[in-house]
Symmetry: C2
Subunit: 359 residues, 2 copies
């Protein structure tokens, strides 16, 4: 089994803790290890043959630093993309590497910046997905929804054959309206699209050839060194490819069009931790519903539902509700919890004003 | 003219910017000079013969440090009280010093931690008060109220003789209910009690003898060095006095009982800056009604009525209204603006938990 971790995200929604050089996957939102490190540790019990981490040049150094201690447990390779082209090229590239070494190897694709509560459940789900992948299916993990979330895409399954799944996928649906999300939640056969995939490399490369011929052609032109894990003149070849291929998600490019997609219902406690306001999903709140991280001491007078990142200071809250406060070395964010999506507007404003030191 | 500045306050309401060793009068709430320094600079144009600053041992060193550059403009003496005993003993002590040098000297008493917008108006009011003081009156500054404030004491004047005042004082009244405060505001002859007094030292010492005989007796026992500004064995004598005299305000001890009190209506833009929420009275707000101090840069998305002290960081606000956020080296306060009075509860909690480093 080969693990491919997509770690090139440049998310701005955890500003000011996340920055261009240290995006969400490379920071310790919860204290302790970064989300990337947690993602790697989550798959090590699966005893993968290789872990391939795809990142970009801006983040490569920090990515390598964070991963250097895992070489004892598994061979970890880092592939630097010269520029982000969404998930399909990254996945195609990784599949091409793996296929040269192991043409029918099973490849598990994981975003580097998602949170999973119950790791053993996750590992069981992957092993179950592996069975379907061995049978030639493209497998996706569908998270059993717990609320009418309008911020995620959904997967509609054909659950006529009851049981624990996997189920055939009927269709992928875009982020829905609240009304639709409520229907999906009620229906029992809609799942959140987690971006976690399992397939055999020959199957995904076949499907890329079928549905994304341009990408397939670009990948077919790659020439490798004698060491089959190495491209000749890596930078030159990669840059030539990334200059011509267009950015596309694997969901849109392949999954929505393929006829052999199965979904595994997943209940391992998942969150894409898409913004500060999502943290209470993944970090235990105190008895007042506050999440207070990176603090020395806390004093709470009549405050609840807050998220405070305290930069190792004493934090005192008085009569404050549903507020996000994030303190770092050089920046302080105060944001109404229901406005967490607008944190990216701050980063845009920093860009506009040329305040790049804060980005 | 002799200026006596009462600078022994240990206010906790500007925590975490103010601390035990650096209370409100010694910090730079507005950026730049401290409130004590501003108070001294405000009186220098009056060309006082001496400025006497009364503080306590905990704050004496920092007080001396902040005042050392003013000696070029006026002789500044610092008197250390061993323990706070409210305003009457401090005022009696200062009057005793001055009286030995200049038995009918005019003494102006000023709190060190009040804010005054129009300094020339203030200086004119003091000169007007001096006239009445020369005529044997105890003069107090009464701030013309601009709102039905329930946090201040009031002074009722006899304004039968119209004109700009001074007016005879009918009575001092405690902090009123909102209903009473509204009546006071309408009446036109009620003023906020500013704690600013002007009198001749022989008059105030006479009145202390009349209304506070215990304090007068203690003061009468003081023995001076040849240098009439120096007590013999200062610490021993002061500690002996402060051990026996009881704490009392000059308002309660003398002013409310004396029959020769006049009030000068004052309109120089005054605030006692009693809590964080009072800052917008004295610092200009931006176009969104925010006061943002000690910041490098500000980004405001749909936020207003906030007070942010940014510890020289970039501050970003998103959808935040009527909030106080104060960031220091070691502490972060987030407080609803209408709960600013509860900041002192945080300091109590620090005391209870033994977190003295933050006090």
């Amino acid at each position: 089994m080969y693990i491919v971790i997509l770690a090139g995200g440049s998310g701005t929604r955890f500003w000011p803790l996340s920055r261009k050089k240290s995006p969400k996957q490379l920071i310790s939102v919860f204290g302790g290890k970064s989300m990337l490190q947690r993602t790697v540790e989550r798959v090590l019990p699966l005893k993968p043959k290789r872990v391939i981490v795809i990142t970009n040049s801006l983040q490569a150094e920090e990515t390598a630093r964070q991963l250097k201690n895992y070489h004892r447990s598994a061979r970890v390779d880092i592939i630097e993309e010269p520029v982000g082209r969404n998930t399909a090229p990254a996945i195609g590239l990784a599949a091409s590497f793996i296929a040269r070494y192991d043409p029918t190897g099973i490849m598990v694709v994981l975003p580097a910046d998602h949170y999973i509560v119950r790791e053993e459940e996750f590992q069981k789900a992957v092993m179950k997905g592996r069975e379907s992948a061995l049978n030639g299916y493209l497998v996706t993990m569908g998270v059993v929804p717990t609320r009418p979330e309008t911020g995620y895409g959904y997967i509609e399954a054909d659950t006529a054959l009851r049981g624990p799944g996997p189920f055939p996928v009927r269709r992928f649906v875009e982020k829905p309206s609240l009304e639709k999300a409520l229907n999906y939640l009620d229906s029992g056969n809609f799942y959140w699209n987690s971006g976690i995939f399992i397939w055999s490399v020959d199957v995904i490369l076949d499907k890329i050839l079928e549905h994304m011929p341009d990408l397939a052609a670009a990948l077919a032109g790659l020439t490798f060194n004698d060491d089959i894990w190495e491209l000749k003149d890596f930078n030159l070849q990669i840059e030539a490819i990334y200059r011509v291929i267009k950015g596309e998600s694997i969901d849109y490019g392949v999954m929505e069009k393929a006829d052999n997609v199965m979904v595994i219902p997943a209940q391992f406690g998942w969150s894409d931790v898409g913004s500060w306001s999502a943290l209470p999903e993944v970090i235990e709140t105190d008895s007042s519903g506050n999440v207070i991280i990176k603090t020395k001491h806390e004093i709470n007078i009549d405050s609840g539902g807050c998220l405070v990142c305290g930069d190792e200071k004493l934090v005192a809250l008085i009569g404050v509700n549903e507020m996000i406060v994030v303190n770092t070395d050089d920046a302080l964010l105060v944001c109404a919890k229901d406005r967490a999506q607008d944190v990216k507007r701050v980063v845009e404003e920093l860009e506009n004003r040329g305040l790049t030191a804060y980005m």
